[in-house]
C-alpha cells in the first residue's frame, strides 16, 4: 500500500518534470520563431549545415573549406541543360553586378556552380562554361558519391532521365542556396530566379546571419 503511494508520487513528479521541460521547449521554439523576420528565402530557425565534401575544379579541390569564411551563392545544374541553367547563371551574373557595392559580397562573396553531370562535364569544360558568365565564378563536380556527400544533407535532388537515342537529361533541384561563412545554409531562392529579389535577399539574409552567429 505504502509502496504503491510512493510509486504514484514518483510518477506524478516525472510527469510534472516532463510537462515543464516540454513547455519550456515549446516556449523557446515559439520565441525563436517569433524572432524570425519576414525575409524572403531565409531558412531559420535550424538552417541545414553543409557536411564535409570534396569536389574537383580546374584549380584543385573544392570542399567545405572553400566555403568557410565566405558567403556563397550555390547552384546545382549541368552544362547540357539548355534552359534553366544558363538562365540561372545569367541571373547570378546580374546578382553579382547588383551586389558590387555590398561590402559583404564584394569582400567575402562567391558564386559556385556544381555540375551534377560528371559523365559529361569535365572540370576544365566547367570552368570555361561558368567563366562565360563571370570570370570570378567557381565550378566543380565529382563522382556520384562525392556529389551525394554535399547534396544529400542539403536535400538537393539530381537524377538522370533518358531522353532517347542514348541521350539523357537530369532532373535537379532548381533553387539557388546561400551558404554563410559558418557553413549554415541560410537562404534558398526558388524559381523564377529574379536578380533584384535574390540581391535583396542576400543583403537581408547576410545582415541577419551576422546578427545571429
Amino acid at each position: 500500500m505504502n509502496d504503491t503511494a510512493v510509486s504514484s508520487s514518483s510518477k506524478a513528479w516525472i510527469a510534472l518534470v516532463a510537462f515543464v521541460a516540454l513547455s519550456a521547449g515549446l516556449i523557446t521554439a515559439v520565441l525563436r520563431t517569433a524572432d524570425v523576420p519576414a525575409i524572403q528565402g531565409l531558412l531559420w530557425p535550424g538552417p541545414p549545415q553543409i557536411s564535409p565534401f570534396s569536389l574537383t575544379s580546374d584549380k584543385g579541390r573544392i570542399s567545405e573549406e572553400t566555403l568557410k569564411g565566405r558567403w556563397t551563392l550555390l547552384f546545382f545544374g549541368f552544362t547540357h541543360c539548355p534552359d534553366v541553367c544558363p538562365s540561372t547563371l545569367a541571373t547570378l551574373k546580374q546578382v553579382a553586378a547588383r551586389l558590387a557595392e555590398n561590402k559583404t559580397f564584394a569582400d567575402h562573396g562567391q558564386v559556385l556552380f556544381i555540375s551534377v553531370d560528371p559523365a559529361r562535364d569535365t572540370s576544365a569544360a566547367l570552368a570555361e562554361y561558368v567563366r562565360y558568365f563571370d570570370p570570378r565564378f567557381l565550378a566543380a563536380t565529382g563522382t556520384e558519391a562525392e556529389l551525394n556527400a554535399l547534396t544529400g544533407p542539403m536535400g538537393v535532388i539530381h537524377a538522370q532521365v533518358p531522353t532517347g537515342g542514348g541521350e539523357y537529361s537530369i532532373d535537379h533541384t532548381a533553387s539557388i542556396f546561400l551558404v554563410d561563412p559558418q557553413l549554415r545554409v541560410l537562404g534558398k531562392f526558388g524559381l523564377p530566379h529574379d536578380a533584384a529579389t535574390i540581391s535583396a535577399g542576400f543583403t537581408a539574409i547576410s545582415d541577419f546571419g551576422r546578427a545571429h552567429p
Binding site: 552544362t79 534552359d83 538562365s87 546580374q94 569544360a125 541521350e167 532532373d171 533541384t173 532548381a174 524559381l191
Partner: protein, 140 residues
C-alpha cells in the same frame, strides 16, 4: 470526298492547312562554351480559323530538334518532351526561358551571335519555315 480532299491538299494544302500561323520574337540563346544543346524561343501565333498542330521540328544546322517544356515540381526542375504543340485558332503560345523551348542538339558548326538558322516544322501536315538569329540572353 477523298478525291476532293486530296485535290484540295495538292492545290492549296499549305495555304489552307497552316493559314494564319506566324512565328514572332524568334531568337536562339547564345550558348556558353561547350557542346551542349541550345534553346530557341519564340511565340507561335495562330490567326487562322483552324487549330494548328505543330510537330517534327527540324534545322539542317543541328542533328536533332525537340520541343521541351520545363516543369517545376517541388523545387525539382524537369524537362518534358512535347511531341506536339497545339495552338488553338486565334490563340498564341509563348516559348520563353523557364517555360517551353525548342532544344537544338549537336550543332554542325559553332553557334555564334549574329548567325541565322532556318527552322522548319510540320504544321497540320504541311511544312512551315521560319528564321532564328542568335543573341546573348541579356541583349534581348
Amino acid at each position: 470526298m477523298t478525291r476532293l480532299g486530296a485535290l484540295l491538299l495538292l492545290c492549296c494544302g499549305q495555304a489552307f492547312a497552316c493559314e494564319g500561323i506566324s512565328f514572332e520574337n524568334v531568337w536562339i540563346r547564345e550558348p556558353p562554351p561547350g557542346n551542349g544543346p541550345v534553346a530557341a524561343y519564340f511565340t507561335v501565333k495562330n490567326a487562322g480559323a483552324e487549330m494548328a498542330v505543330l510537330k517534327d521540328w527540324q534545322s539542317e544546322a543541328f542533328a536533332h530538334a525537340m520541343l521541351h517544356a520545363t516543369k517545376l515540381v517541388d523545387d525539382r526542375v524537369q524537362m518534358l518532351n512535347q511531341p506536339e504543340l497545339v495552338v488553338p485558332a486565334g490563340a498564341s503560345v509563348v516559348l520563353a526561358p523557364g517555360g517551353m523551348h525548342l532544344m537544338l542538339m549537336k550543332a554542325r558548326a559553332p553557334v555564334l551571335v549574329g548567325n541565322h538558322y532556318a527552322l522548319s516544322v510540320s504544321c497540320n501536315g504541311t511544312s512551315a519555315a521560319f528564321d532564328a538569329a542568335v543573341r546573348r540572353e541579356d541583349a534581348r
